[in-house]
Amino acid sequence: MEYVSPEGLRLDGRRPMEMRQIRGEIGAVAKADGSAVFEMGNTKVIAAVYGPREVQNRSQQISDQALVRCEYSMANFSTGDRMRRPKGDRRSTEISLVIRQTMEACIMTHLMPRSQIDIFVQVLQADGGTRSACINAATLALADAGIPMRDLVTSCSAGYLNSTPLLDLNYVEDSAGGPDVTVGILAKMDKVTLLQMDAKLPMDIFENVMQLATEGCKAVAQCIQEVLLENSKKLEYQRGP
């Protein structure tokens, strides 16, 4: 199948190095300590953060740092054909783990010993790149909750189809069988915290694809910073003089 037309356009009309429309919004769940919605094209996720609070299961308490927990769940209606998968299947367990490890790396856990931070991400629409969208939503929600972080973690994926590196794969491109490189970076410190790839890729091309994904992460970081700034301005305005 042709994923990049001779004119250099992808199936959804994007250029190979073009991202989908990204949009972030803070405050989707009123009762949570921090929450956010993040959209990448048709992929849409909600993240809610509860904490830092008392550890619920005392045996999990860590004496010198905070316990970070994460749960990823997909709504029944999130995919094209309806499915009803049991909670806690292997895929969501793995993604929960990935998100937890990525966020743990940026949260300053040593400042909140003997406490717990819960991150819940809920996929409303899945169209490829849910992993990245979840991490971006979680970053926004953590920032909204006012949890001290070293830096903003942002994530983006890139692939390689029809001998062209493609940025931010959608579902059709993702299921095409080519490699899918998901990168998560600490935006300002310029460090990679998450790197996953399936399928195989020559070394030099991998370098290009990863570079592309990293550029994508930086673009997401820019967007997230704008959203946070906008939100802070709103809060400042609401507080009054």
Partner: protein, 366 residues
């Protein structure tokens, strides 16, 4: 928190019962003295732990552990997220309800503002998001072609599933939300779909039939609780009504190639049939607190309830389904009174909801 406070009620009760049984056993025979002593030892140890225990919020701790306070039922599954309230707060809520002025300024029979948004899930046949205060639910309707059941060959099938997302409350994590999800799904099914025969259903099941006995539409109604701030059932009912009026079912052209075989189907992706939702009922939950009842209770008010009745009423004022929740018994005459109040409130709710749905649909079209 030191660990004796972690004991839940069951454990405490078991502890007391154990203490009694040890006394009995030591009385009844000498051989069992040893075991009895051990048990007593454990008990006194436990007693010591209690003494040592620092009590940061003694009042609240105690209240949460005591089931004997009237109109407080920690065991009810219908509360998403237990709310800890002081005695003063409880009196304030109860007194406000008695005086027809609730903590958020509403009267007893006033709903919070409802906001409706339709077509929120593009890949579904219809969807809606309803916000009621901080309660936020999303409902999607998906239509799939299926085979009608042999008992009702001329009717389609409708199934309702509700999921409670952990984003709404940390206690829904893992399997924690399953009980509430099941309760909500069953209540909705009862209120909207009628009995097993499909009789009295708010949705006209025969309109879902394509070829009698061979082909029908299966409607899957999936609800998701994104944020929970009380009165989930009413919000879900309203969202289902909105999602159904947003639903377009593709037109199906059936060609009979050979009458014995399966009919050949051509599903149009341009022509859609709109659904008749005028008969879909709304759900009104009346929560009884003290001697009065209120609609659209917040979690704080729900924690003070003695019982609640959810009535689904359609536009004609017919009652389509009813569920009573809560531990306390109700006088039959009170139930009848509550139902008539619910009927009255439902007509207002229907008109508000209709105008909200209309506004949402026209906003989505433009």
């Amino acid at each position: 928190m030191s660990w004796p406070t972690n004991l839940d009620l069951g454990q405490k009760e078991a502890l007391v019962r154990r203490a009694h049984s040890t006394v009995k056993r030591t009385e009844s025979g000498r051989e069992k003295e040893e075991g009895g002593e051990q048990r007593e030892g454990r008990l006194t140890q436990e007693g010591k732990w209690r003494e040592r225990q620092p009590q940061p919020q003694p009042q609240q701790q105690q209240l949460e552990l005591r089931p004997s306070i009237p109109s407080f039922h920690p065991s009810l599954p219908s509360f998403p997220g237990m709310v800890g309230l002081s005695v003063g707060e409880k009196h304030f809520i109860q007194g406000g309800i008695a005086q027809d002025l609730r903590t958020d300024g509403r009267k007893r029979l006033h709903y919070r503002p409802i906001s409706v948004e339709t077509s929120v899930i593009p890949q579904a046949n219809g969807s809606a998001r309803v916000r009621l205060g901080a309660t936020d639910v999303i409902v999607s309707v998906k239509a799939e072609l299926g085979k009608p059941s042999p008992f009702q060959p001329s009717k389609g099938k409708v199934a309702i599933f509700v999921d409670c997302s952990p984003t709404a409350a940390p206690m829904f994590e893992g399997r924690g939300g399953e009980e509430l999800s099941a309760e909500l799904s069953v209540s909705l099914q009862r209120c909207l779909l009628g009995g097993k025969s499909g009789e009295g259903a708010g949705i006209d099941l025969s309109s879902l039939m394509v070829v009698e006995g061979k082909l029908c539409w299966d409607l899957y109604i999936d609800g998701l609780v994104v944020s929970s701030d009380g009165n989930l059932l009413d919000a879900l009912g309203a969202a289902i009504k909105a999602a159904l009026s947003n639903t377009g079912i593709p037109k199906v052209n059936v060609a009979f190639a050979s009458s014995a075989d399966e009919p050949e189907v051509d599903v149009s992706d341009e022509e859609f049939l709109q659904f008749d939702t005028s008969r879909v009922p709304v759900i009104v939950t009346l929560t009884k607190v003290g001697r009065h009842y209120i609609v659209d209770a917040t979690p704080e008010e729900e924690s003070q309830m003695s019982s609640a009745i959810s009535v689904s009423v359609n536009r004609l004022g017919n009652i389509c389904g009813l569920t009573k929740r809560g531990g306390a018994g109700l006088d039959p005459s009170v139930i009848l009174d509550m139902v008539s109040v619910a009927k009255h409130v439902s007509q207002q709710l229907i008109s508000v909801l209709d105008s909200e749905i209309f506004a949402a649909e026209s906003a989505a079209d433009s």
